[in-house]
Symmetry: C2
Subunit: 227 residues, 2 copies
C-alpha cells in the first residue's frame, strides 16, 4: 500500500543529523514545520501524465501539504517527472494504494471528509468550501476524471467556477487553484495554515533532518542498519 | 507582433453565423461574454515548455481572461500542446511580441500596471494585490524566470507565499493560483469578473459566433473573401 523513496534509519555509531547540519538549515526546517499540515491532504486518483503528477507534488510541498495519497492507475506507472518535481517529493509523505476503497478507508478512519473535484449535481463551488476540519481533496484522471468507485464513495463534490468555453482546467492547474484557495482560507479563518501536533512536529523534524544530510545514503541507509 | 490562428471574415453572399447557430450555442456565447475581461491580462515571457504554454492558455480561457500576450523565446518556438489546450486557444486573443519592451509599451499605452511574478526585494504577496484597475500578470521562463528586461520595466513584483522547501511553483501552477485569486478578488470586491464594454462585447460576440460555425474555413476563410 505504501511507497516513497528510500528509507533511512538512525543507528548506533552514526553521527546524529543535528551534528552535521548547519544552523541556517535547521532554521529552515523549523520554518517549514511551522507551516506544515496533515489536516489538508491531497488524493490523486489514477493520474496518467508524469508532468501532472510532478506539478501537483510540487504544489503540495510548496503549500505545506505533507501528505499525498496516490491511487494506482492500472495502465500507467506512477512516475512524476523529476525535472518538474525538482526533488521536492522527498519531503512529502506519499502513500500508495491499489484502489480508492482502501485509500478512503484509511482517510475515513482518521476523520477526513472526502471532497472530490468533479462537476456533478449538487457540487459546490470551491469558494464555498470550508477547511476548518480534516479535508481530503481528490483529483481524478486527466481524461476520464475520477472513477465510479470515487464518485460513489465521496462525501461531497466541488468544482472551480468555469467562466469560459473550457469545461475543466488541466489537473495541475486545478489542484494548484484548489490548494492555494484552501491555504488562503485556513490562514484567514484559522489564523494559520500549519497545525502539526507536538508529536507530529517532533517526528517530522527528525525525518527532515535525516533527509537534509547529504551523506544520508552512506550514513543511514538500511543496509548499514545495526539496531 | 501579432499572431493567433487562421483569420475569418464575413463576406457578401455567405450565410450569417446567426443563421447557422442553434439557440443553446448562442446562449452559451452570451454567458461567456458576460464573464469576460480585457482588464486582467496575462503575459508569458519566453516560456519553453509546450505543456506549460498550453496549461496557462487553458486556465486563461476557463477564467474569462481574453488576452494573452506572448514574448518570444529566441530558442524555442511557441507551441502549446494541443492535448492540453483541447482547442481552447481559438477563443483567446493571443498577441505575440519579439521582445518585452514592445509588449510593455502596448500595455502601458492602454493603462495597464505590469505586475511580475518574481521573488524580489519589495515583492508583495499575491494575497495583497488588488485587481480594481487594469493589471497585467507576467510569468517568466521555467528555468530562468523573467528576463532582466522585464525586471527593469516592471511596475511591481508579486510572489506566492512558499511554505515548504520548494522555492517556486511550476509556471502552470503559479499562473493558475494567481489567476484564480485575481478572479475571486474581482468577484468579491467588484461584484463581478466580466466587464467588457458594450462595443467590446459586440465585437467579441461577432467573433465568437464566427468561430462557432463548424464550416467557417469553407464559408469565411480568407481565400474566399470577396468584400
Amino acid at each position: 500500500m505504501s511507497g516513497g523513496g528510500p528509507k533511512y534509519e538512525l543507528h548506533e555509531g552514526a553521527p546524529l543529523p543535528d551534528e552535521l547540519l548547519l544552523e541556517p538549515r535547521k532554521e529552515r526546517i523549523e520554518q517549514v514545520l511551522a507551516n506544515r499540515t496533515r489536516n489538508l491532504v491531497v488524493v490523486l486518483d489514477r493520474l496518467e501524465d508524469s508532468f501532472n503528477m510532478a506539478a501537483v507534488l510540487r504544489t503540495c510541498e510548496a503549500m505545506g501539504v505533507q501528505e499525498v495519497h496516490v491511487v494506482r492507475n492500472p495502465d500507467v506507472p506512477w512516475s512524476p517527472n523529476s525535472k518538474v518535481t525538482q526533488g521536492c517529493d522527498k519531503w512529502l509523505d506519499l502513500t500508495r494504494y491499489d484502489d480508492f476503497t482502501s485509500c478512503r478507508r484509511a482517510l475515513k478512519d482518521r476523520g477526513f471528509s472526502i471532497q472530490v473535484s468533479a462537476v456533478r449535481e449538487g457540487a459546490r463551488s470551491l469558494f464555498e468550501l470550508k477547511f476548518d476540519t480534516k479535508v481530503a481533496l481528490v483529483f481524478g484522471n486527466e481524461r476520464f476524471g475520477v472513477s465510479e468507485e470515487v464518485l460513489s464513495q465521496a462525501d461531497g463534490f466541488f468544482w472551480l467556477p468555469m467562466l469560459g468555453f473550457t469545461q475543466s482546467l488541466n489537473i495541475s492547474a486545478a489542484a494548484s487553484a484548489s490548494i492555494t484557495r484552501a491555504v488562503a482560507w485556513r490562514m484567514e479563518h484559522l489564523g494559520r495554515h500549519g497545525d502539526l501536533s507536538a508529536d507530529e512536529t517532533r517526528a517530522l523534524r527528525d525525518h527532515f533532518k535525516l533527509l537534509s544530510v547529504k551523506q544520508r545514503g552512506r550514513l543511514y541507509g538500511q543496509h548499514v542498519k545495526r539496531g
